[in-house]
Each structure stands twice: as structure tokens, then as C-alpha cells.
């Protein structure tokens, strides 16, 4: 565009460091791709699709299914929590209140993950706060096992991905003009109908964008399932690590990594396509 502040050449020049920073990642991806096609488990030698063929086990299938399921539910729940938070953030008029809420939402990104995991254990562990309260109230006899299983991992994923969902939605909520909502109201729409017929459709591109970011983040999660699920919750990140660390199956880990990357990419392309489809409907 001629009226932007940087010409394309200038922008390209300034973006060069970013490209240099991203470059090792691409190289690593290519390296992993090559390793996954290696004939040997421990080093790159020859070509073979054995690594992929060896992954076609019920165990790995369960891991893929678990990853997709947990990432999906964590994304949906995070989005459902993010929408009201985004609205709350846009309705706060006092800068202090707005900044405080922003920091609270961002806290999981600022805090070290180990600290967070420790917090979860204090709260949800067998002798943690929640179980103690429930037991003292006589609601339960034996502690609920909320950690080191899928529930714990799900909670952790929701918490870590929530900030990623909130901020894209906040800017979309800000972009909705008050007059659109008032127009719907003058035509006879109740608050609920306005939300359903006007607000949500206008938020749709942002919701899909936030969902794809959250999903990619959750599907590739490694630390959360390891810390809050232990070995028992074999999300793909954990499964890949186990292949490397006790088993030294480097080519298998590389193949599993490639599958994870391709799956995530596919879902992101799918959601980008959905965004285009829905915005095209609005634009023509």
C-alpha cells in the first residue's frame, strides 16, 4: 500500500532479523522431517517409513486421540471463559480496574509454569485446599483425584491458554459499534437476541482465530501434561519425550513430532478457511 508508513522493501529489510530468528526453527523442522524418514532409530541413515509404520499402534492412536480431545475441550472451555472476560474488560472504564484485570488474566503467562503447577497441587492435590474443604463439609469421604489424571491436565491447559483467547476477542469486542447493538434493539431485539444475532456473528472471525491459536498451543503442550498429568496422561508431547528419553527412539519421536505438526497445521488452515468463509459472507 502506498499510504503505509513503510514501503515493502523497507518492511522487508526491518523484518530480516525476525526471519533470521525463525530460520533455525524451519531448519529444525526439516531436520526432524529427515530424521523421521531415517532407516535407523538413533541416527540419520538411509530412507525408510518404518518410523511412521511403527507408530501405527493402539498406544500411539490413544495418545493422538487424547491430545485432540483434551486440546479441543480446553479450547472450547477457554473460549467460553474468555468471551465474558473480554466483555468485562471492555466495559471497565477506570484505567486502574482495567489494568488490574489485564494483569490477572496475563498472570499465567508471566508466572513460571512450575510455580503454577505447585499452585495447582496446593489447591487440587489429595490433601489440597479443595479436598480439605469438601471433606470438612462432609460432602466427600475420600479425596477426589483431580491431579495426575486427565482432569488435572485439562484444568492446566485451560488456564495456560486462557490469556491467548482473551486478547484477540477483546479487540474484536472493542470494534463492535454501539450503534449496531442499538439498531438491533430498536428493531425489537432483546439483549439475548442482540448477542445471538449481531454480537456473536461480528465476533466470529476473532473467535475462530482465538480458537486456532489456543488449539495449536494446547495440542503441542508438553510441560502441563507432564507436571499435572505425570506419565499417566500421555499427550503427544509427553509420548514424544518418552520415546527419546528412556527409549532412544529418535526417528520414532521425529515421526510423532511430524504428525503433531501436520495435524496442528491442518487444523489452523481449516480454521483460516472457516474465517474466510464467514467473513466472505459478510463482505460478499
Amino acid at each position: 500500500m502506498s499510504n503505509s508508513t513503510l514501503t515493502r522493501k523497507q518492511a522487508l529489510a526491518f523484518a530480516a532479523p525476525a526471519f533470521i530468528a525463525i530460520l533455525p526453527f524451519f531448519v529444525a523442522c526439516l531436520y526432524i522431517l529427515r530424521f523421521s524418514l531415517s532407516g535407523e532409530q538413533g541416527r540419520i541413515e538411509g530412507f525408510s517409513i518404518d518410523a511412521y509404520r511403527n507408530l501405527m499402534t493402539p498406544f500411539f492412536g490413544r495418545s493422538v486421540w487424547l491430545t485432540l480431545r483434551l486440546a479441543f475441550f480446553a479450547t472450547v472451555i477457554a473460549l467460553m471463559m474468555a468471551v465474558p472476560l473480554a466483555f468485562l474488560l471492555t466495559t471497565l472504564k477506570r484505567p486502574v480496574a482495567r489494568r488490574t484485570l489485564t494483569v490477572i488474566i496475563l498472570l499465567p503467562m508471566i508466572l513460571n509454569l512450575l510455580v503454577q503447577a505447585y499452585g495447582w497441587i496446593l489447591l487440587l492435590g489429595p490433601s489440597g485446599a479443595l479436598n480439605t474443604v469438601l471433606r470438612n463439609l462432609g460432602i466427600i469421604d475420600r479425596p477426589l483425584f483431580l491431579l495426575f489424571n486427565e482432569t488435572g491436565v485439562l484444568l492446566g491447559l485451560i488456564q495456560t491458554s486462557l490469556p491467548l483467547a482473551v486478547f484477540p476477542i477483546v479487540s474484536a469486542v472493542r470494534a463492535i459499534s454501539q450503534e449496531h447493538l442499538e439498531a438491533a434493539s430498536s428493531l425489537g431485539a432483546s439483549n439475548w437476541r442482540i448477542f445471538r444475532d449481531v454480537t456473536l456473528p461480528l465476533l466470529r472471525p476473532a473467535l475462530l482465530g482465538a480458537a486456532s491459536i489456543c488449539f495449536a498451543f494446547n495440542a503441542s503442550a508438553f510441560a502441563v501434561p507432564l507436571l499435572l498429568g505425570g506419565r499417566r496422561v500421555q499427550m503427544m508431547g509427553v509420548a514424544i519425550r518418552d520415546m527419546i528419553s528412556p527409549l532412544f527412539n529418535w526417528s520414532g519421536a521425529a515421526a510423532a513430532g511430524m504428525i503433531l505438526i501436520v495435524m496442528t497445521l491442518f487444523l489452523m488452515i481449516f480454521s483460516a478457511w472457516l474465517v474466510r468463509l464467514t467473513t466472505e459472507k459478510t463482505k460478499g
Binding site: 449496531h180 442499538e182 439498531a183 430498536s186
Partner: protein
């Protein structure tokens, strides 16, 4: 016979310490086209938003056909509104936009389609039903927004500076269009504008607002010819406001000249006279004689010519039909003849 449709009864609106509207009383006749006119910040938009239900009045009530609607939610009022930004729904087609109010009223599909078709024909855009809103030109959007508001057969038709974003030529044709549609539907209409030409052209009743008060509410010709106070005189048609006084004979003296207009004030009382530019004639003073005023500026606008003259330290605007003869030029000495029948006299 008067038939009050909307009665605004002592409406006051305060925002914190600021009083935006102060005890507004207004009766709107059924089927009338009312324009709320005033400078920005006069409270006209706030009044419209209170009528629509988007703002709550701090005091006072509002009656529609004798029913108190002060606390009725906006979506239950059934008023069609056209917004300054038009606020067409970008994710809906033209037809979906127009039919949205009907859909909420649970009208059948056939009914919705017929009504959309009827309205699109009325706004002379029959082929655009399936187009997305973004594919429309400014004037088309304007019409669709009007059609959407009228589709629900509104009790009141409210418009918030709907034409301000259009260029002058389009605005002119939309004003005619708007007036035509309003008369066709016979819907009671309240339009907010800061453009006095637009208000004069559209309104049956002109409500001039300033500082949260109604300055004058009357038909446009009345407002123009007998402004209620100096503000209205100045705001509508930019009249010249001049210091004046009453003579011993009870006539009005302006710029030291007896106009012969009888006034009911005590001789010598301080008055102000408002005279419009077109109600003053210039007479050139021949030779090197001294006149009442000196021409400071003149411009020929084609059919009319405007002059700024200074008399007794006051700048006075004069407008006249461009003649064939020699017009007074800058620097000329002139005498002013005020049309006594067109002078408004104020004591404040």
C-alpha cells in the same frame, strides 16, 4: 384539532454535573415531521436517544398516545431508528437487514419477503435484495437503513443526523426522498440535525435547541420570520444583530436611523434588532459624501451578491439580487435601508 402522538413532559437529563437537557416540554402531533435543530452539544441527540430509550431521563416522563413509556425498554417501543453511522448489519444481506425487525416479530417468510420487496420498490432499489451491505454505495446504504427502520411499521420514526455523511448533491436528493417516504407512510418523525437548511426543508415543526433548552418550537417559516430570541435569529439564517433603541414617538431606532417600526417599549430603552441580510438594501452615496456605512467586502455568488459593510463599528451582512447596474464596491460609502416589516426586536 390537535392530536398529540408523543408528549415529552418535563424531561431533564444530567450527566454528572452537566445538565444536558433542562425540563424539556414538547408535544409532537401525529404524522408530523419534527426537526430538532441546534449547535453541537445543545442536547438534541440526547433528547432523541431518550425518546428511543437508549438514555434514561433524570427527571420527567414521556407519553406515547397517553401511555407512559418513560421506563419501557427500547426493544419494546417499536420505534424505527436511523443512526448517524447507519449501523447496517455487515453480516447480513440487504434483504436480511430490512427483514430483521419482521423476523423478530415472527412474521412469516412470505410476509417478510413481500415487505422487503415493497420497501425496496419504494426506495427505488428493487434489484439489490441479495447484495451484501458492503457492496452498496453511500446513498444506497442510506436508503436501506431508512427501509429497515420503516419495515417494522414504526410508531415513531427517529433519525440521528442520517444525511450528514453524504455529499451536498446526494444529501439534497435524499432530503426530498426522505420527505416523500415520510408523507407516504404518514409516520410521526423526529429528525436530529445541525444543518438549518435541511431542517427548514424537512420539518413541519422546527425545534431549536441550545444549552439544553428549547429556544423555539414552531413551523420553519415562523421560526425564520419571527425568531423568538436573538439566539434563534442568529442561528437560523444568520441575522444581523444590532443595538437599537425606542424613540420618543415609540418607533425603533437602529444605527441612528428611525425605521418607523412602532415598538411597545419605553423611549430610550436598550433593545436589539435582528435583520436578515436579504432585508437590507444598500444605496450608494454619490460623489464624496459621507454614508452610514462603508463596504468592506463584496462577493458575487451568481444570482445574489453579498456585502459586508461596517457601520458604527459593527459588521453587517447584506445580500441582494445581483443587478445589471453598478454594484457598490469595496471602499464605497453606502446608506442602509432596513425593511421595517422584517425586523425582529428583542429586549435581551
Amino acid at each position: 384539532m390537535s392530536d398529540t402522538h408523543l408528549h415529552i413532559d418535563g424531561i431533564t437529563k444530567r450527566f454528572g454535573d452537566v445538565t444536558a437537557l433542562d425540563n424539556i416540554d414538547l408535544r409532537v402531533e401525529r404524522g408530523a415531521f419534527v426537526c430538532l435543530l441546534g449547535p453541537s452539544g445543545c442536547g438534541k441527540t440526547t433528547l432523541l436517544r431518550i425518546i428511543a430509550g437508549f438514555e434514561k431521563a433524570s427527571q420527567g416522563r414521556m407519553m406515547l398516545d397517553g401511555t407512559d413509556i418513560t421506563n419501557l425498554a427500547p426493544h419494546k417501543r417499536g420505534f424505527g431508528m436511523v443512526f448517524q453511522s447507519l449501523a447496517l448489519f455487515p453480516h447480513m444481506s440487504v434483504a436480511q437487514n430490512i427483514a430483521y425487525g419482521l423476523k423478530l416479530r415472527k412474521a412469516s417468510k412470505a410476509e417478510q419477503r413481500d415487505r422487503v420487496e415493497e420497501l425496496l420498490t419504494l426506495i427505488e432499489l428493487p434489484q439489490i435484495a441479495d447484495r451484501p451491505v458492503s457492496a452498496l454505495s453511500g446513498g444506497q446504504r442510506q436508503r436501506v437503513a431508512i427501509a429497515r427502520a420503516l419495515a417494522i411499521r414504526p410508531q415513531l420514526f427517529l433519525l440521528d443526523e442520517p444525511l450528514s455523511a453524504l455529499d451536498a448533491k446526494l444529501r439534497d436528493s435524499m432530503q426530498i426522498e426522505l420527505r416523500r417516504l415520510q408523507q407516504k407512510f404518514g409516520v410521526t418523525t423526529v429528525l436530529v440535525t445541525h444543518d438549518q437548511t435541511e431542517a427548514m426543508m424537512l420539518a413541519d415543526e422546527l425545534v431549536v435547541l441550545n444549552d439544553g433548552h428549547i429556544q423555539q418550537a414552531a413551523p420553519p417559516s415562523t421560526v425564520y420570520q419571527s425568531p423568538a430570541n436573538p439566539f434563534v435569529a442568529d442561528f437560523i439564517g444568520a441575522a444581523n444583530l444590532m443595538p437599537a433603541t425606542a424613540s420618543a414617538a415609540g418607533t425603533l431606532i437602529v444605527l441612528g436611523q428611525d425605521t418607523g417600526l412602532p415598538v411597545p417599549h419605553h423611549p430610550g430603552s436598550t433593545l436589539r434588532a435582528a435583520v436578515r441580510a436579504e432585508n437590507i438594501q444598500l444605496h450608494s452615496v454619490n460623489g464624496s459624501g459621507q454614508g452610514m456605512a462603508q463596504v468592506e467586502f463584496s462577493r458575487n455568488l451568481g444570482p445574489v451578491t453579498e456585502w459586508l459593510v461596517s457601520a458604527q463599528g459593527q459588521e453587517i451582512r447584506v445580500r441582494g439580487v445581483t443587478g445589471f447596474g453598478a454594484a457598490p464596491q469595496v471602499g464605497d460609502q453606502v446608506n442602509l435601508a432596513l425593511d421595517a416589516g422584517r425586523i425582529s426586536v428583542f429586549t435581551t
